[in-house]
Amino acid sequence: MINKFSKYILIAFSAIFVSGCENKLEMFNHSDGLNFIYNNNVDSIVNYSFVYGPSTAVTDTILLNVETMGFIGENAREVTLEQIPAEGTNAISGTHYVPFNDPTVKNNYVIPKGVVTATLPVIIKRDASLKSSTVTLVVGFKENNYFKSGLPKRSRFKIIFTDQLSKPANWAAYAIGYFGAYGVVKHQFLIDQTGKKWDDEYLSKELGFTSSTTYTGGTNSNYDAAYCEYLLEVIIRKLSAYNALRISQGLGVLKEADGTIVSF
């Protein structure tokens, strides 16, 4: 009898301690969502100009990388994109880009079954207005039957585009340090004199400049100080010769549209 009683006591205490060790886990109950994929905030912005591409091009495609949150879908899931109002001149649907619900592109906005990432194309249009303006298209996700909200900090993608030269994102701390403040006329002069685009790719791959607005992190492994100093000297000499020619023609030194003298 004593043995039996002791056993019940032991079992009871054991039950108490066992239950005390239990850490109940909650099931994932968040709705499936979508995020844009970028490594940092800078990646959330694309600066594009049609001037770098073929002169006959009437459209171009910006690719947006997205990822899903939640369970992997057993079927293809539609993604609904929407334009978010932005500061500056907003791109006009149908004029500056192909509407996201246009039948020609709508079928591209799908997360295939069994995958968690996809690349979605946004087709921008070379409208005549872009010759004299720069427009902004901020793309976001609209909730639908498959996806609700994702991470707020990864819910926007900004495309700034034009048909004229525009300031590359990598014209930042180091580019300013070497070549001064950005200007469209300066940019065109650099293109004309060097045969290079001086766009983000050139600034990154050839000169090693990043979009950092501070000198910390302002360069990547492609940076070579001696080359940048050499190039700067080349350009200074070319500008001097160019200005001398202009002056001899009565044109004055090279200036931006607002009258700022182009200098390096």
Binding site: Y223, A225, A226, Y230
Partner: protein, 486 residues
Amino acid sequence: MFLASVFITSCYLDKGNYDYTPVSDIEITGIETSYLKVSAIDTLKIDPVVKSDYGDNLEYRWVIFESPVKADTIGREKNLEYFVTKGVGSYSIFLYAKSKTNGYFVHQSTSLTVGTLFTRGHYILKEDSSGNTDMDLLLDDGRLVSNILLNTQGSTLSGKPRSMGILYGKQFVDPDSLTKVSAHCLGIITYNKKISVLRASDMRKLYDHSSMFFDEPNDTPYKLLTGLWCNLYLSDNGTYSSYVGDQGTGKLGFPSGEPGGSDFWAVSPSLAGMVYWDETKSRILWSNYNGVANALTDAVNPTSNLNFNCLFMGNYKGVVYCLFRDKANQARLVLYRITTSSMSAPPKVNKVVEIAATSKMHGATMFASNQYTADIIYFVNNNKLYYYDAVNNTEYEITAAGLPANETITFVSNRQYNVATPNFDYLTIGTYLSGTYKLYMYNMIGGQPNGSPVRTTSGTGKIKETHYLGTSFSDFDLLMGKRYSR
């Protein structure tokens, strides 16, 4: 039963043995703090002294570390005899001595620097029997590696040797990994305007004149050297520079500052820059620690549009001497004494001395300065060695013990190096006789050779210059007073 289990601990009897027995210590001595060896040539031998009460009851293990997580065992005996197979670099070596009885162990560490035959020693730039350029290397252990260009590049460098310079931390794009790296290099220039920049560790050619610029200039090259924190190239276009060790391609753009240059230059340690002669504009230039060239100006003595030919430039500490011959009066020699006081102040002409008409400097064929221990200028006249006392404007013949009179002196220079071991300050004399050179290195007292040469070697050809290549370089060391001859 439950309550009993709760109180079990209180019935525990501590039966631990607290009657400790002292463990005998192990003492390791006889290991130097560092060793320098040549890969695939040298054997590292270390015979440590181990004192303990364990007698033969010790086991040993020598371990070499390439990194904290990469190590190899290179010995299991007390004495190490390791044939060095590691590549060029620095390593840590640990000796562990462990008691077989109780497992007690101690360790002692040292560092090993592994070089190749080419990473350290006196490089001898020479003219071969065909009038082209090659070089030999006198190793610290006395061995001579001969005809290095011929044997590593397949041919000598076309033309007579003009100059050589050590380029510490020279930037380049590694031809194997295509990454930007830096390494100690040799820069050779010939009178045929040929340039070869060679990585010292393996004699791989990194640059020549056609590849060392972003846009190759048509210039006359004079000298490659390392300044303070810049690697410099001096040509008649001016001074080009790239930073030591900075991760770039090492290619050169445009000269900085005033154009011009010549074979006559001096490096001032206090200026951390150069003073040199501009042959084209007949003026004296100087460059700062960044290699930016400026024209020397002086309110009293002319420094530009000089109607002179420059015969020599050299430094004694922060003083730069410039010896000129007047073009209008060939019998007139003028010695400029230019002082440099700091990195931030332009050099100044301290005084200008007219060399006496009776001086044997008038017929001298070569000159050199004592760089640190005596304010004198060496010169050779009629194959005899003299020195000019730049303080008292007097001159004396120098007797160098063991220097045969029948050998023609082709090279005189004060060669010094105290950045690291070996620490030396030699009066170095090169001679030539019947296709063979001899090199004599003398310790000095007051700038005079003291006794017999402490190092000698000989080889084929005619010596143009010698330069000591060390394994370490630090601009901080130079700022702190360390010196080496360019």
